[in-house]
Subunit: 344 residues, 2 copies
Amino acid sequence: MSKIKKVAFELKEYEFPEPFKITGAIHTKAENIEITVELESGTKGMGEASYSYRVNGEMIASLLAMENNVNDMIKGVDVKDYRKIFDIIDGFSRTAPSVKAGVQFAVLDALSAEIGVPVYQILGGSTNRIKTDKTVGIDELENMVEKAKKYYYTEGYETLKIKVGLDLKEDIKKMIAISEATKGASYIVDANQGYSPKEAIQFADATYRNGVNIVVFEQPTMWNDLDGLRLIRQNSPFPIAADESAKSKYDAYELIKEGCVDFINIKLMKSGISDALAIVELAKITNTKLMIGCMSESSVGINQSVHFAAGTGAFTYHDLDSHILMEEDEFRGKFKQSGQEITL
Amino acid sequence: MSKIKKVAFELKEYEFPEPFKITGAIHTKAENIEITVELESGTKGMGEASYSYRVNGEMIASLLAMENNVNDMIKGVDVKDYRKIFDIIDGFSRTAPSVKAGVQFAVLDALSAEIGVPVYQILGGSTNRIKTDKTVGIDELENMVEKAKKYYYTEGYETLKIKVGLDLKEDIKKMIAISEATKGASYIVDANQGYSPKEAIQFADATYRNGVNIVVFEQPTMWNDLDGLRLIRQNSPFPIAADESAKSKYDAYELIKEGCVDFINIKLMKSGISDALAIVELAKITNTKLMIGCMSESSVGINQSVHFAAGTGAFTYHDLDSHILMEEDEFRGKFKQSGQEITL
């Protein structure tokens, strides 16, 4: 009865009321695939694929075209044997990691409904409370300062994610201005690969000397420049995180083994549930810290990362705010949120 | 209702009808601790700690003395939040890894009873079928050959584990004689740290030249000689496995990073469920192969490894035969066994 009867893909579009700019992209809308796994018992589980061309090389038409293949691959398999399904779907790790994530989560969500245990407890139930940051996209200095103040003072987000990487000198000015305007806040600064290694070191040096409280300096340089990342790490007072560099568990192993990172930013849309679980274990073995991020998930997709993060309890920072930045008719997360506070 | 009400330890003794000799030890009996986790609902889960002084440095009196502490540590915690309990018990990783294993499994077993899902499916349900080997202890050549023939021809075990490590020249003679008497069998040869690196290379060379079908050469030299293990690995045609060298997930990481091993032998009694899960993920990342072994578990303890192995589906070889070699009043595994075939 807990065998998979059918998997359905549905395209959903969401608008960002304010265009969201980062190094290498401007987001005005999200096109996500809602993935429903239906069991023979009638029970349903839901996941979401929020694809990325910039990071993963995925295109929406190709992902949508996989619906029949996914049905052929996992129809008839019992969701209680979820590792079997994880392994079958693992072949999508390079070609369609967001679909891998959405299908793997929908399977866990269906299992959850079938046995009456929330997904975060299937994954171990480490905690039922996490805090998310909120992100300030690239904009004019005044606008970024205003947004930072609003998020910090009015909305109560203690950790702000600040997007940089387009202009080193401007970025340093912006960070100092934001820091002076939001005293007491913590900053995750994300350059989205925008700097050369030397520029990244200059950025870290200048902000450090001006007392900017950067808790993570994310993906300062190109994803494939491991030597560059290591050089930055060795010359930055702030912890260095890999995001675009760390898609799979294999990437994470190399980055850690080669001494390139203090943090890994896990995103289910890059790794699926299965590689994300492997990176969690690897990080614990090697004392590497973790943050969890998102692409452009709605509340359906953010729900996945919330349950993963709470279940494993493995993350120092949670950057799960895409659903807050987009317009959504209905909140569909299986969690409660009040500002930065998320409870299960 | 799924909160832990009480944890009970009970000492159990089992006899080995034939003394079981390996390098560094002769086993005539096993003293195991049966661990029962009782929930507020009345549901019970059961685990077993089969301690090892030789490998872990554990002593039975000290383990038994931990009962009250374990109660204080995990009483009141919900077994659905099993990662919390895993983390609390993780402090026993060095001092009482067998108790860590037994408590962690008993928690999963109680959760299993509470939600009606077998433990191997809580762990992912990768397969419901595994094959175990059977072990030939150190003895006179004729006796070892007779036992190998009986296990292979009469009882149908395709893989035999052969204990060596006390006398290089004798061991080579024995392996050639066993190989000639059981053509078609596969051998896991376990030296239990008995050889110097050079002796191990001589052993591998001589058996290889005589066509002995060794599929794993286990722990040829001292647990703390990583350079020696690497040297043997680089000069052995047979895959090298670490057992005594690989207690924790941290050990496994070092062994793999330093290029010392083809296989890791996971034993729950060395690592508990939590480190074993981490080693499974690490092995997949690094293309390291896995076998799963045992100490002197009864069917209660072997049940733990059977469910772990089937759930994760991660093991090339299963060496889960201690319950077969000992006298037990009643079979209490939640699996079926017919010779080498184990089904869930």
